[in-house]
């Protein structure tokens, strides 16, 4: 059965069709959630909540939107709300509030894990909209148009958020970028 047929069946309340959709997208939803929440258990819990919501609101799904875009939009909103609830994420932050550039010790430069940790920390320090855009972009499977639908904004807003996010990240991670190039 192809995806459109599965979606049709799921909208009729067919649980086995929904199961196939879940199995197709569960890892992607967990991984997108994991990028936002940085915790494996929370990411899986988020995916459970997202699929439950998708199942219960089958009637509100409109064919004009791609099913995966609708699904990930629900996931992104859930994760952003979760982060707001936990006060992990400030809703707006000025550039001046961003952390100072990260200095790397020469002997740790080759340690990929440390570098990854620094990248995660830098992403976590971004304002909410820039962070959401960069995380979806980093996931690497969405077009700008899909990202715009997920984030409820225009394509040019996605471009602008990504540009600003990368400018901020570059400023924070400049020492590592420069040393990485040497």
């Amino acid at each position: 059965m192809d995806e459109s047929e599965l979606i049709h069946q799921y909208r009729q309340g067919d649980r086995s069709a929904f199961r196939q959709l879940v199995e197709k997208y569960q890892d992607s939803v967990i991984n997108v959630s994991y990028r936002f929440l940085r915790n494996k258990e929370e990411a899986e819990e988020a995916a459970q909540e997202v699929f439950l919501k998708v199942y219960m609101s089958a009637n509100s799904y409109q064919h004009r939107t791609k099913f995966s875009t609708w699904l990930f939009k629900i996931a992104v909103n859930y994760c952003l709300n979760k982060l707001r609830d936990k006060n992990k994420l400030p809703s707006s932050r000025l550039k001046e509030d961003l952390p100072a550039p990260v200095e790397f010790q020469p002997d740790r430069l080759l340690e990929q894990e440390n570098l990854n940790r620094s990248v995660r920390k830098a992403i976590d320090s971004l304002p909410e909209q820039q962070r959401a855009a960069i995380l979806l972009n980093q996931y690497g499977e969405f077009s700008y148009q899909e990202m715009a639908q997920m984030l409820d904004c225009s394509i040019s807003a996605v471009e602008s958020r990504l540009f600003r996010a990368k400018e901020n990240l570059r400023r924070i991670l400049t020492p590592s970028i420069k040393k990485d190039e040497i």
């Binding site: 995916a47 699929f51 471009e159 190039e181």
Partner: protein
């Protein structure tokens, strides 16, 4: 195209999301602008760095089973709520509406009875003094009784008594 406009489009160019015309304009600009060339080099290094930080995880083996349990639980709760709503729709709301109609009828009957009794008393020919009393009360003629004999108050009362009273049967 100015540098700032080009720079905003650079992430789209690196992600392969820029349109053909945009690609052409940006490439032309990059050929002539060393600052934007440096910018795209830095952004490219950053993109590599971001791509490296891409830990991937998988769903636990019982992901669907857990989800199915939650779906069943939610549907059960929803059905219980819908049953309660149905019961309210079928009993409480009609009963409430009936009670409002009955109370309305009772109040209406009571009010109607009082008015009817008053009219009946006024129209009764044996109740001439009652009629006079009603008129005096409604026009506040009692206040004129303090005026001396043959004053304007007495004339006014006399005129009302002769000309304006309802015709007695």
């Amino acid at each position: 195209m100015r540098c700032q406009k080009v720079r905003i489009k650079l992430p789209a160019l690196l992600d392969g999301q820029a349109g053909e015309k945009e690609k052409e304009i940006i490439s032309h600009h990059l050929e002539t602008c060393p600052f934007c060339r440096e910018e795209i080099r830095d952004l490219s290094s950053l993109s590599l760095l971001l791509r490296e930080e891409k830990e991937s995880i998988e769903a636990s083996p019982y992901f669907w089973n857990r989800l199915e349990q939650r779906i069943i639980q939610t549907e059960t709760n929803k059905n219980a709520f819908n049953t309660l709503l149905d019961w309210l729709n079928r009993t409480i709301i009609p009963a409430g509406a009936t009670a409002i109609v009955v109370i309305g009828l009772l109040l209406g009957t009571q009010l109607g009875g009082v008015i009817y009794t008053n009219i009946a008393q006024i129209l009764n020919p044996d109740n001439a003094s009652l009629v006079q009393q009603e008129v005096n009360q409604s026009l506040h003629l009692n206040t004129l009784s303090d005026f001396p004999q043959e004053s304007i108050g007495e004339v006014y009362t006399g005129l009302l008594a002769e000309n304006n009273l309802p015709e007695r049967r």
